[in-house]
Amino acid sequence: MSTIKIRSKRLADYTLVRTLIAHPMETGKRKDDETGELVPAHFIQTLNFKHNDQLMSQCQMGFGVSKNPFFSFQIKSAQAGDIVSISWQDNLGYSDSAEHIIR
């Protein structure tokens, strides 16, 4: 299962692209319910949003972003068949990316 879900909605004036990412976004300050130990900081630091391989938005974030991050963007003009992609990298070196075809 990919960590990234992408949905798009093509409207008259713009195309809405939404993404939901499975990631704990741990601050490093939370204690595990069962062990009582601090859960180490584990959060996405950078995310790229591309449209047909062109960089649309580069995002830098901290652990202040909610668990299972959600982001949405609006592309001014997109066609059916265009490809959008989301890729992320976190503070522990994990990364993932996914593509989505606009209908």
Binding site: M1, K5, R18, L20, A22, K67, N68, S72
Partner: protein, 283 residues
Amino acid sequence: MIQNMRVKATTIAVTLYLLFSSSSAWTSPAEDRQQIRAFYQQLFPQLQLDDYAEGVYAIDQDAKASWLAIEEFPPYEFALEQGEILFKRPFANGSGYADCFTNQGIAIAQNYPYWDKQKQQIITLASAINACRKINALAPLAYGKGEISTLLAYMAYTSRGQRINTAIPKDSKPALAAYQQGKAYFYQRRGQLNFSCATCHLDNAGKYIRSEILSPALGHTTHWPAYRLNSREMGTLHRRFMVCNKLIRAQVDPAQSTALRQLEYFLSFLDHGLPLNGPSTRK
């Protein structure tokens, strides 16, 4: 052991209640439902019956705005996806969940809970999942959260829009007794805070408890399982019952215990006809 004692205690309580309560002695379940719905209608005249499926969001506009924004792409999507995968995955013996349920297990959540005449017990969807696993030599799933909540999420999702279908078989006295026990549980004060479910969700529905608005009991069974923002994971209805009892410092009946199944049966009967809209997010 304690469960059986509690059931016996509630049976006695029900009998005494029915004998001594003056105004509502011997009300039929249908009359109960009508009275309760009428009570809520005069409390919230702006609401249609279906609105109660939204729970507290029907009466808390600030919270609703936030909820709708999150429902645009809800965090339970991953649990839902996982649930579909688990539901469709064949068991070791080649069978699958679809073989245990009518209609392949699709769009059937509205028919639970129901009274099983042969087994003489209330069957909830969660317990039916574990019964399926048992027949197929699989270990039961824990009832509060985890894997079962992903399966329930998928089954709820396929059942969205279906109208809750909970009836009490007319020819079954045990079914009626189970309903009455669920009703007694709902009205019974408990715990250090001496609250009953009715204290908050009937008598004080719409009022604030600290910083939150109390949801009406009507509609409580429509939106499960729920992704809780505060725990950031999927939870079941019975888990919510347990947490609520813990919060009022009452004894916590285990998930899928007889007492909680009876409570669910009672609440589901009140919700008969309301549309299902699970899985959902809640605070």
